[in-house]
Structure formats: structure tokens, C-alpha cells
Amino acid sequence: MSDDLEKQLREALRHVDPPPGFAARVSARTQSEQRHRWLAARHRWVPATLAASVLLSLLVAYGWQLRHEREQGLAARQQLIEALRLTGEKLDLAYRGVQDASKPAVPPDTGDT
């Protein structure tokens, strides 16, 4: 019984030479796995970097829009002030014209004094 077991074990654990190219395949696989691990570690920041880039782009676009709106608003304000200045100036011109027309005519200087 024990001889049989021993025989079976010997049979099972007998030295077998690896097939040709086994060492090279193991080495290649190990290198490949190492490379994959290195690449995974290296690209771990890619999604975060992409997300940060998108967020930054959105912030820049928003900032640009705010600045553009501000520039447009300030230009519109400037135009408004200029338009009101001109309106006031021309109303003033009309007022002075009416005032001049309503003034009594100055009698010509007779030179008596």
C-alpha cells in the first residue's frame, strides 16, 4: 500500500524538463506584465488630468464670456453717455435759440449819451 503510494508520488514528482522556449516565454510574459503594470501606474492620472482640463477650459470660457459681456456693457454705457451728452447739447442749442428769439430787440445806439 505504502509502496504503491510512494511509487505514485515518485511518478508524479519526477523531474520533467521544460519544453523548449519555456524560459523565454515566462520571461517575456513577466516583462509584459511588468510593462502593463508600469503603464497602468503611469496613466492612472490621465482621467483626472482630462477632468481637470475640461474644468479649466470651462472656467476659462466662462471668464472670457464674463469679460466679453463686461466690455460690451461698458461700450454700451459709453455710447449711452455720449448719446445723452449730444442730446442735451442740442436741446441746449434749441433752448438758447428760443431764448434769443424771445429777447426784445435792442434799440440801436443813438450816441446821445
Partner: protein
């Protein structure tokens, strides 16, 4: 029955809103392009402020500045401000036809001439027109031709002439103290 009544009301509201918009639009003059004047002028000012630009400008007015506060009061109720002004280096360099085309529009019903000034001494001609709807003024036009300057102002919307009068003392306009003289 109820549905048709509400539809009728909606149509009434829409037509009223449409007619109000049309009335305001009537006060807007078709200003010529004035390309020839622009080429001749030593200085030209062209202001086109529709309702959206007026609202935008209003947002950038500083209530702490008297000039800005006055502007805010004046533009409340306005739907457009259009100004064309040209300054020339020589006397009467602008063609009278351009002025006539604008004057023609002001002969349309609704426009009333408020002031007409013809100064032989200074050669300043100023016409002030208002467009009146009922008891409300919804348009103003000023045509001012001076020897070396030609200006057209068209203000569209509910204009408070009292507020316009308050332009005095602001925007570099000297205080005329009109009220004191009354």
C-alpha cells in the same frame, strides 16, 4: 365655450402687445447710412442702442455717480436711442438731401414739431419733434444743423421730457436753471 373665451382673451392681449410694439417702432426713424458724410467728416459719432443694448448699458451704470444715476432715470421706459453726428472742417460740407429725407419722415402723422430754431446770426437750425400717442410721448427727434456740425437724435419709447430737461448739469451740459426763470 370657456376655451374659446380664453383664446379670445389671448388674441386680444397679443394684439394689444403687438400694437404697442408697432407704436414704439413707428417712433423709430429710418436714418440714412450717411456714408458720404462719414467720408467727409473730420469726426463722426454713430450710436445705435436698441432695447437689449440699453438694458446692458443700464447694468453698467454706477448709481453712485450722478451722471450715471441721471442716465438710468432717463432711459427707464426707452426702447431705443439712435444718434448720428458729424463734424466737418469746413462750413456746410454736408448735403441738404440727407437732412431732407429725415425731415420727410417727421411729417408723418403722430409727429409734432415742438421747437423750430432758425438762427441767421449763427446759422444754427434746430428742430425738435415729439411723437405723441394719447397723452404720452413715445418718440423724440432732434435735427440740428450747424455750419460745421450736423446731428440727428432719435429716441424711441416712453420719454419723460422733464427728465430730459434734467440733462442740464450732467454730461457736460451747463446748468441753465430753467425753473428759476419761470
Amino acid at each position: 365655450m370657456r376655451a374659446s373665451l380664453s383664446r379670445l382673451l389671448l388674441m386680444l392681449v397679443l394684439s394689444l402687445a403687438g400694437s404697442a410694439a408697432a407704436r414704439a417702432a413707428d417712433a423709430r426713424l429710418m436714418l440714412p447710412e450717411f456714408h458720404t458724410l462719414e467720408a467727409k467728416a473730420s469726426e463722426s459719432v454713430s450710436v445705435t442702442l436698441d432695447s437689449s443694448l440699453l438694458a446692458m448699458a443700464a447694468r453698467f451704470l454706477d448709481p453712485n455717480r450722478p451722471e450715471d444715476a441721471a442716465a438710468r432715470q432717463i432711459i427707464a421706459g426707452l426702447t431705443g436711442i439712435y444718434v448720428r453726428s458729424f463734424t466737418f472742417d469746413s462750413d456746410f460740407a454736408y448735403p441738404k438731401e440727407d437732412v431732407a429725407s429725415v425731415r420727410k419722415q417727421l411729417s408723418a402723422p403722430g409727429w409734432q414739431q415742438l421747437v423750430q430754431v432758425r438762427s441767421r446770426k449763427d446759422h444754427n437750425d434746430v428742430d425738435v419733434y415729439v411723437r405723441v400717442e394719447g397723452d404720452k410721448t413715445n418718440g423724440l427727434a432732434i435735427i440740428a444743423s450747424e455750419p460745421r456740425e450736423f446731428t440727428i437724435v432719435n429716441i424711441v419709447g416712453a420719454i419723460d421730457l422733464q427728465k430730459l430737461h434734467e440733462l442740464e448739469g450732467h454730461f457736460g451740459i451747463p446748468q441753465l436753471k430753467l425753473d428759476d426763470k419761470k
